[in-house]
């Protein structure tokens, strides 16, 4: 393993120039961006992980009523959520398509892909908001039950991350607009694409968790020792 070899290094022996003789002229910005993205994904992952852990812990208190299971509960029939999920999945697919265009230098494809991805993402956010209104109209308010609170909280945090992604994507597109070349597009777009796929993954986990029946939630909580 690389890390183990590195940690076994004895730097006090053998002073020497580094093996590569090429002149080092500063950091590689693409590689740096990739490292940055990895850390961002780790941090976002930790945030959602902690929310989910508290969700499972809180679910074991007697006042917790899961949002699925009984016929009168909103997500016993999760059709609306499937629809929203499809929107976000479309955003992921189209941004991937746009990335393919950027890689092959096809500006039209990449513009179409990015536009479609932004469209589907915004539509997803609107659909999520509409779902909030729907829940409100059914009487499932934020403070009504911890399960409701978690639903609003987790979808809001997930939505905020998507909005952050949209801002970054806008920034990337405008930079490319000024540079006027697809070459400079593919590297940052690759990072945006990874971020979109990651948030789709996070949403699938949240979807599964929020629509779980009480038995599933209890089993998960028991596995975590709550």
């Amino acid at each position: 393993m690389n890390i183990m070899r590195m940690l076994r290094d004895k730097p006090w022996l053998h002073p020497s120039a580094a093996a590569t003789a090429a002149q080092y002229s500063g950091p590689d910005s693409k590689a740096a961006m990739r490292v940055l993205l990895r850390f961002v994904l780790a941090i976002v992952g930790v945030i959602f992980f902690l929310f989910i852990i508290t969700f499972l812990a809180r679910s074991q208190y007697p006042d917790f009523e899961a949002l699925a299971g009984q016929p009168w509960q909103p997500f016993t029939d999760p059709t609306r959520l499937w629809f929203n999920t499809a929107l976000l999945a479309c955003a992921s697919l189209t941004i991937q398509w746009g990335l393919g265009g950027a890689r092959t230098g096809n500006l039209n494809v990449s513009v179409a892909g990015i536009s479609a991805a932004v469209f589907f993402t915004v539509l997803f956010l609107v659909a999520q908001f509409d779902l909030w209104l729907h829940l409100q109209s059914m009487g499932f308010y934020m403070a009504g039950n911890p399960a409701n609170s978690y639903f609003y909280l987790l979808t809001a945090i997930h939505g905020l991350h998507l909005i952050g992604g949209l801002l970054v994507l806008t920034n990337v597109v405008f930079r490319v607009w000024y540079d006027n070349s697809t070459e400079s597009l593919s590297a940052p777009l690759q990072l945006c694409t990874t971020y979109w796929h990651f948030l789709l993954g996070v949403w699938l986990v949240l979807f599964a968790l929020l629509t779980s029946r009480p038995e599933t939630i209890n089993a998960l909580a028991a596995m975590c020792g709550f």
Binding site: M6, D9, P11, W12, L13, H14, A18, M33, R175
Partner: protein, 587 residues
């Protein structure tokens, strides 16, 4: 090329000229570091004044009419939160992290300078929001720095209305600021090291800052999550942490929430936070000790492993802050075990520092005095940690002055000693001038001895059972009459130590103009930050060409070498080359 530091663009090294580009819209890591440091020191002085007020009340109860019990709790809370987060974290990582990382690894700047600049402005905003809570109706929150619900947001706690909201908002902004800065630090260390600067050739300062930043990036989300959920409990009436309860005779709408859940989240952040503060201090003190003892750091590899090991272990000890929360004894046993295990890498570090001094050519300069002082205060604070890490001993001592004395020694005074050592050590580099040595020594002795005059008796008060966070002790049978007089003596010492910091401030600001010019590398240090073409380093740090690194950062007193130190960028001599080959042959 997008996202490349201005300083990294090869064509020209343009220094920012106007006031705005130089100080307001600055993306130079050195300017940002100084902005961070000045803000942190300013807000730290506010917290120092608060501690003085607290001590006045404790030492001389019934004397000061302007301090009532609510004020006292607000002082306690704000003092704790400011010192831990807005001073120590910001100064060690935002200040020294920013200044040292690019210089010590041979980079021109951070990898994402714009984000770095944003990081500072968000930090400043968080400080302003925090300080604003002094001026809102009800004043700042008085919930204690741990902000435990349910009391933090209930009527009866000072600042339960506006204060707690501003505190939580400020924390969220701080976390955003820290994350932007932290992403920069880790990426810069991983990606922008100059030619020949392998990870194992990095000075321990960088190892400490790097590991602490990784801890921060992974631990602050826990605080973020708890702050968001508590904010919702307060503003929207959710019941994440709030149980059903009656407050001031009124049934509240909360039901079923879990206050202990908050404690778990808070301490899952809170314990790594101890090491977010300690690890950079460990790193910096190692470099100060090696430089001023003219000896290579003893056991460099062990020091790196210990830093990484402590960082990893720090995520598995959080519940030792919660032994009295009614946890399962098996749970307590687990956390006591992990807590005591962490003493092993920590002890390795302390032994290595002492062995670095052993038979070294010790120069008792001001930074060295503070570094040696740190070994004392940290050892004492660490040893009381062994007491408190055990469940059975912690239970009676919990929430007494013993705990207060312990954590002040280990994570208050000790990092501050290192910060002073570091400020005095790098002052000639940052300003190009020497500080006044005599004032520096006076400052050291007053601070070091004063610290002991404050905290040694406080351990004793803790053994007597004097509870922390109490406005006044009143009359209790188990506390003898001598305790109040001890409290008065602690207060006098605390005021002297507090005032003696004015010597430090005077020295720092006076020497900027009137200090002797420091010249190039006055301590004879090996690491890269001292090898810049200009002192203080200019924008872009290195002139036209980046330095090349040929050796580790601790080549002090090398047998046969011309000077008693060999800088990291000093090319390999022929003698070294043949010696290396010879060794290779034998092994």
């Amino acid at each position: 090329m997008q996202n490349v530091a201005i300083a990294d663009q090869p064509d020209h090294l343009h220094d920012p000229q106007t006031f705005v580009t130089k100080y307001i819209y600055s993306q130079d890591h050195k300017v940002i570091a100084i902005q961070y440091a000045l803000t942190a020191v300013f807000v730290g002085l506010v917290a120092l004044v608060l501690s003085g007020l607290m001590r006045l009340q404790l030492g001389f109860p019934d004397t000061f009419d302007f301090i009532n019990p609510s004020d006292y709790l607000q002082f306690v809370t704000m003092h704790g939160m400011i010192m831990v987060i807005y001073l120590l974290t910001a100064l060690l990582l935002g200040g020294f992290g920013n200044y040292m990382i690019p210089l010590m690894i041979g980079a021109r700047d951070m990898v994402f300078p714009f984000m770095n600049m944003l990081s500072f402005w968000f930090y400043l905003l968080s400080v302003l929001v925090l300080l604003a809570s002094f001026f809102v109706p009800g004043g700042p929150t008085g919930a204690g720095w741990t902000l435990y619900p349910p009391q933090a947001i209930l009527a009866g706690t000072p600042g339960h209305d506006w204060g707690i909201i501003l505190m939580l908002a400020s924390l969220v902004i701080f976390i955003i600021a820290f994350t932007m800065g932290g992403l920069n630090y880790v990426t810069t260390v991983l990606q922008a090291r100059t030619h020949g600067m392998t990870l194992m050739r990095m000075p321990l300062t960088i190892w400490g800052i790097f590991t602490a930043t990784v801890l921060g990036l992974l631990a602050f989300p826990a605080l973020l999550v708890s702050a968001i959920m508590m904010m919702l409990d307060k503003t929207l009436g959710t019941s994440f942490f709030m149980p059903a309860l009656v407050s001031l005779g009124e049934n509240l709408d909360y039901s079923g929430g879990s206050p202990v859940l908050f404690q778990h989240l808070f301490w899952f952040f809170g314990h790594p936070e101890v090491y977010i503060v300690a690890l950079p201090a460990f790193g910096m003190v190692s470099d100060v000790l090696a430089t001023h003892a003219r000896k290579n750091i003893f056991g460099y590899r062990m020091m790196v492993w210990a830093i990484v090991g402590i960082g990893g272990l720090s995520f598995f000890v959080w519940a030792h802050h919660m032994y009295v929360s009614g946890m399962d004894p098996a749970f307590g046993f687990f956390f006591a075990t992990t807590t005591l295990i962490i003493a092993i890498p920590t002890a390795i570090k302390v032994y290595n520092w002492i062995l670095t001094l052993y038979r070294g050519n010790i120069h008792l300069t001001v930074p060295m005095l503070f570094a040696i002082g740190f070994i004392f205060t940290f050892t004492h604070g660490g040893l009381t940690g062994l007491f408190l890490g055990n469940v059975t001993i912690d239970l009676p001592l919990s929430d007494t002055y013993f705990v207060v004395a312990h954590f002040h020694m280990v994570m208050g005074v000790s990092p501050i000693m290192v910060l002073f050592a570091a400020i005095y050590h790098w002052y000639p580099l940052i300003t190009g001038r020497m500080f006044n040595e005599r004032l520096g020594k006076l400052h050291f002795w007053l601070t070091f001895l004063g610290t002991y005059a404050i905290y040694l008796p406080m351990h004793y008060l803790g053994f007597l059972g004097v509870p922390r966070r109490y406005f006044a002790m009143g009359t209790t049978d188990f506390i003898p009459e001598s305790a109040p007089s001890l409290n008065a003596s602690i207060t006098i010492s605390a005021l002297i130590v507090g005032l003696s910091q004015l010597i430090f401030l005077y020295n720092v600001f006076w020497s900027i103009r009137h200090g002797k010019p420091a010249g190039h590398n006055p301590w004879g240090a090996t690491s890269l930050e001292w090898q810049t073409p200009d002192v203080p380093p200019r924008h872009g740090n290195w002139g036209p060409e980046l330095p090349r690194v040929y050796r580790w950062a601790y080549d002090y007193a090398v047998p046969g070498a011309e000077h008693d130190f060999i800088p990291q960028n000093h090319p390999v001599s022929e003698a070294e080359q043949t010696a290396g080959e010879h060794e290779e042959h034998n092994s």
